[in-house]
Amino acid sequence: MAKANRLTTFGNDLYTGKRSFNFVGGRKKWYTIVAVLLLLSVLVPILRGVNFSIEFRGGSQFQIAGVENAEEQPAIDAVESVVPDATAHVTIVGSDGIRVQTDQLEQADSRAVTTALAEAYGVPESEVTSSFIGPSWGADVTRQALVGLVAFMLLAAVIMALYFRTWKMSLAAILALIADLVATVGIYAALGLEISPAATIGILTILAYSLYDTVVVFDKIRENTAEDGQESRRTFAESVNLAVNQTLVRSINTSVVAALPVAAILFLGAGVLGADTLRDISLALLIGILVGTWSTVFLAAPLYSQLREGEPEIRRHDQKVLKERERAGAPSAEVLPTA
């Protein structure tokens, strides 16, 4: 065993049950934590206010890359020289990038500002990137995204119910998915970052990832509980818990491996002008991957167990198991997770 690394040994212990985390039994604790987290995810953005990016607000945006004098004032002056009453928000991105955001400008004004900015920073006009975004753009994207979201959840719910042959798994997975989305949006907004179309993409990808992760774990649960059948000397909840523990190393490995490239994008995207798309997607995804992995373990699996424990057949089996255990003289310390 000397050569095995710690996570492998850990995995062995989890697999055999030598070591076990009580994900299912401790569900009251996990539910409370999840509930608090969700409440915060809803409250914090409401109290702090959510920043929507320019794509949602509408406006004009100019970006200049590779300027030598990265100062804000020339940009403010340049905008004022064209449109005196416009307020320009100037941000310096990285070491040599300038971003200027204004209210929506007329086409002609927009071109004039481009020229003025190019002059102010001594770059050719072609180096100035300009965007005009009507206020309906972001709303359009969001509406489509929401339609996609609902359509996906319905379809996924049906397909999972067919695959796992029980709607209860489907329901537990979808509930966990909704919690993931709420928490991700909440954390993202709580960090004070602008919600941009790129962030929307990231959040939508979590749909795929979170459910993917849940399916992997549920597949193991299905395997364990189905094969244990009436012979099992474990209660239903214990079977579920063992499955979660057995896939825990996998959960850790997959979430780390999925998170690493995303983190790489995040670190690079943060300092480079114009890579906002990368930054926003990756941040939303990073949060989502972490939340998605742990929601499967702490929320989806206990939920599923709870949904099934009430079934008469399972209850009968559980009682039998417990009775046998008592007869064998085992201490009743193994509290049945159904509290």
Partner: protein, 579 residues
């Protein structure tokens, strides 16, 4: 790849493995061949086309302006797209892309966009009616483009203001020596230059027809497209209502148009025989659509154009006249100009991020799976090659363009792809923990892992498809790469990762459970457990042999045994805090 030494002892998995790898080779060779064929014959390329955010250029999104509740039909949109395309092409912009996304029309133009082209795109086209003063066959002689006649040069020397004040739109007095000279030298090829075929409404215009077959010197504007209420195509009918079988375009003018047209038609009818001065021209976007001659004085504002029409051409002309150009009016929803420098830097940061992500994944998998990581890395490389070829082919055949969001999708896919290898490896390890030999552990682990991988990847694919169908803009690009890589991932797991593991299981290094192989049964606790309890699969299996696979049952018995043992001892660690 070293040929397996024990081919004779374990023929089936090895032969299967080689068959899968052959298939993979065939697929890659095929994709490579398609791409090569594209490069040689079809204008393909070895690099995928880039979207505007990476290449630099201008993107304008036009949203239809409709009354609330009104729907925009696909037909209208298609028509708008084709008209906008004509306009952009007329500006001489190469490689523009115009298509619809949802109800929006998206115009993508590489490079910088000059103001005139922008105006052409954003404004509704102008339809003008002008009387013809002079007409001639087009001179498309091989005048080199640099010497194309500039309207100002001759004008400096020649008289450019009429000596006699013209009395009406057909008055030859409009034709000044300067205009005459311009007309004589006008090259229809110059129609593409945006500056040549525009003139103020109250001045004459020199231009050509769309086919560049004839050139015209036209009088000032007599009526404009706004005055046309309706235009339809139909068969010409005699007074008794019988069809003549000849196609015609029927125009209906509004009140003002009727007035104007009555005046023009009366005048032109009076000039009958003095060709071309009895003709009047419909000018769309500065080019002559058609220039029929006047056969009667039309006073009811309902002229009919006849000629060599087919049903299609009459319909096309009617549509163009009716819509003044665009079937619906649009507002600019967003307009982006991205400098090529910014595009390049975005591409660079995307690629660097991808590389770093890849390296991190490689390091982590080596740490976790030792020599087994080589399979992961090789699988990622294979997946990368297939993805690259697919994207290049798709960008050639389907016009797919790689955007920043698409690149993000690809980078994210590195992790998602590696996930399926992890699921597989962990399953194989589980089998080893149950005391299986490596070769059978690989087979049994695969059977279980494959199911899980398929089910989980199916949810990924479902998400990608739903997003692709319903979403717009950059979300679409992202969903596209996500879906593509999901499919490629499954293909690679089946045709590469699993076969490779099958082959490696035959090697001494892996089958002997070398500590560095990542599949060391001792490290995985298999031996330890074997010592702890005697394995007795027979006791339980008899009862449920029907339903499940043998290996599952054997594992279960161990698990159950452990669970029973755990009842007393294991409980202390059940508080979830041991680490």
């Amino acid at each position: 790849m070293a040929a397996p030494s024990k081919r004779s002892s374990r023929p089936t998995p090895v032969r299967k493995a080689w068959r899968s790898l052959t298939w993979l080779g065939v697929i890659i060779a095929l994709l490579f061949g398609i791409n090569a064929a594209g490069v040689i014959w079809g204008g393909g390329s070895w690099t995928p086309k880039l979207a505007l955010d990476l290449e630099g250029g201008t993107q304008i999104i036009l949203a239809p302006k409709v009354e609330t509740g009104a729907d925009v039909s696909q037909e209208q949109l298609d028509q708008a797209v084709s008209i906008i395309r004509q306009r952009v092409d007329a500006s001489g912009v190469a490689e523009s892309e115009i298509n619809t996304e949802g109800d929006n029309v998206v115009v993508r133009i590489p490079g910088e966009l000059d103001d005139q082209t922008r105006d052409r795109i954003e404004q509704s086209a102008k339809l003008e009616l002008r009387a013809v003063l002079l007409a001639d066959a087009a001179t498309n002689t091989a005048v080199s483009p640099t010497e194309s006649p500039s309207p100002t040069d001759p004008a400096e020397e020649l008289e450019s203001t009429p000596t006699v004040e013209p009395t009406d739109g057909s008055d030859p007095a409009w034709i000044t020596p300067a205009l005459q000279d311009q007309f004589d030298n006008f090259d229809c090829a110059a129609l593409d230059d945006t500056s040549t075929n525009v003139a103020p409404a109250d001045e004459p215009l020199v231009t050509c027809d769309r086919e560049r077959a004839a050139k015209y010197l036209l009088g000032p504007v007599e009526a404009s497209g706004e005055n046309i209420v309706d235009a339809t195509n139909g068969m010409v009918q005699t007074q008794t209502g019988a069809s003549t079988g000849q196609w015609a375009v029927n125009i209906v003018f509004d009140e003002e148009g009727t007035q104007d047209f009555t005046e023009v038609s009366t005048r032109l009818f009076g000039l009958q025989g003095q060709t071309p001065r009895d003709q009047f021209a419909f000018v769309l976007d500065g080019a002559v659509l058609t220039a029929p001659s006047m056969n009667a004085a039309i006073t009811d504002g309902r002229p009919q154009i006849t000629g060599q029409f087919t049903q299609e051409t009459s319909k096309a002309l009617a549509d163009q006249l009716k819509f003044g150009a665009l079937p619906i009016s649009f507002t600019v929803q967003s307009s982006d100009t991205i400098s090529p420098t910014l595009g390049t830097s975005q591409l660079q940061s995307g690629l660097i991020a991808g590389l770093i992500g890849l390296i991190l994944v490689v390091i982590y998998t080596i740490f976790q799976y030792r020599a087994l990581a080589s399979v992961t890395i090789a699988s990622l490389v294979i997946a990368g090659i297939i993805t690259y070829l697919m994207i290049t082919i798709l960008s050639w055949r389907e016009g797919y363009r790689l955007s920043l969001a698409g690149i993000a999708g690809l980078i994210v896919a590195i992790g998602f792809t590696a996930d399926s290898f992890i699921i597989y490896f962990e399953r194989v390890r589980d089998e080893l923990r149950d005391g299986r030999q490596l070769v059978s552990a690989v087979e049994a682990g695969w059977k279980r892992a494959f199911r899980t991988v398929l089910a989980s990847k199916a949810t990924n694919l479902l998400a990608a498809i739903v997003l692709f169908v319903l979403a717009v803009g950059s979300v679409k690009g992202f969903a596209y790469t996500l879906g593509l890589t999901t499919i490629i991932d499954v293909v690679v797991v089946i045709l590469f990762t699993h076969p490779m593991l099958q082959l490696l299981a035959q090697t001494k290094f892996f089958s002997s459970g070398n500590p560095w192989s990542g599949l060391d049964p001792e490290a995985l606790g298999a031996v330890y457990r074997g010592r702890a309890e005697f394995r007795k699969p027979a006791a339980v299996t008899a009862k449920k042999a029907a339903s499940s696979a043998k290996e599952a049952q054997r594992r279960q018995t161990i698990a159950e045994r452990k669970a029973a043992a755990m009842v007393g001892a294991g409980d202390t660690s059940n508080d979830g805090k041991d680490s």
